[in-house]
Amino acid sequence: MRIWRNRPLLITIIVCIMLLVLLLITAGENSINGTESVIGSILSPVQSGLYTAANAVSDFFSRMFSGADLQAQNQQLQAEVAQLKAQLRDYNEIKAQNQRLSELLNFDTSTGDLKYVTARVIFKSPGHWFNVIVIDVGMASGVEVNMPVVNGDGLVGKVVAVGANWSRIMTIIDAKSGVSAIVERTRDTGVLSGTVTTGDETDAVLNMNYLPLDADLVPGDTVITSGLSGVYPKGIPIGKVTEVAHGADSAAVVTPWVDFYHLEEVMVITTKPVNIGETFK
């Protein structure tokens, strides 16, 4: 056959088949075996170094192109700090009040007992197709697959693979992600899913589907985790509604609170999610 005599074509076919097999083997979310864990542990410092170097180059170009806006940005940040301080005072008052009322009702707060492991982001997946990050804590710190990951702004994602000293996190804006969510004001539930993003920060949005027919959410409403999936504890802030489409297939677009393009530190919630039955007992 002529194909066997065409060496480049033969090599192309063999390499493509090998890569396709590798792709299908490594595509499974939790397919961490011993070898991959060891390779990951060895490459973790390399990865961290690469990420730091890439960040340095990235910061250089960012500064070069945004120098003119720094003063305006500084003023805006100062205003935001003042506003946040005021909000923190309110928050402390409300928290204290909530604690008193909870004690009165003999109600066990579900988030009070959560334990966290703080981690540093050491790598982000390149390209547009997937939004996966790698952090510098793993099994040695008690991290397990499916543990939720948050930062100060809200929900980041969940752990999909764990090595000895590293974990891979699928963010909620990843095209394979799905999160059960609830609209804080209206209590409408739905499923938030990520999509392929272009890398533009304004493009990192979530689609909220499976909303009830009579859902009356409006732009500006806050969306939080519903706690129904058994992975994410209830009440973690996710984002705010920016677009709503009412009708037979009600859907909404939600902009996440977390800035996924500038993630540096995150926290893994190491407490197992509370069983739904126990919550309502």
């Binding site: 480049p8 490459l43 170009f61 394979k176 272009t198 533009d200």
Partner: protein, 173 residues
């Protein structure tokens, strides 16, 4: 020396793809410098070197993204495809043909990525990514190709970039 230069080209590609273009882009769209390099090397070298460069850069992109082959396969396949087209296409100028090759190669690479992403259950709207991502980046890649090809011509003019013999070429394959 030739392999060192090719390794340096791969490293520069990875730095630009992961650190520079995420910050310098037009509404999220940026040129695909790896495609530019693959096409340029395939045109100037004439062998499968473009495909191997694509494989190396693709594996670099796959490193720790968790899915080995997601970028390596499309980049290698695109490099090989450009090689086969180039083998049967003898007229090559320095402006239009390389740009058109890069534009077409980008669309091929993005198309293969879309098929793989679909196979992996990724959720996306094809029309949205074609309009918002494929077309703008294909055009940018075609334009950026002019600069990359200009630099590559300078590099490939050096004696150390020439393949020593057919035997060496076969060994590379």
């Amino acid at each position: 020396m030739r392999y060192l230069i090719l390794a340096a080209i791969a490293a520069v590609n990875l730095i630009f793809s992961n650190a520079v273009f995420p910050n310098i882009n037009i509404a999220g769209a940026a040129p695909d410098i790896i495609i530019c390099s693959i096409v340029s090397v395939a045109i100037l070298d004439g062998g499968m070197t473009g495909a191997w460069l694509g494989l190396a850069c693709g594996l670099g992109m796959d490193l720790f993204s968790g899915v080995i082959g997601f970028y390596a396969l499309p980049y290698f396949f695109t490099g090989a495809f450009v090689y086969f087209v180039r083998s049967n296409f003898h007229y090559v100028d320095r402006v239009f043909v390389p740009s058109l090759f890069a534009l077409g190669a980008y669309l091929l690479r993005a198309g293969v990525n879309a098929v793989l992403a679909y196979m992996l259950d990724a959720q996306f709207s094809l029309s949205h990514i074609i309009l918002r991502y494929f077309i703008p980046e294909a055009v940018l890649t075609g334009v950026f190709m002019l600069l990359v090809h200009f630099i590559m011509i300078k590099i490939f003019r050096q004696n150390y970039m020439k393949r020593k013999s057919d035997r060496d070429f076969k060994r590379l394959l």
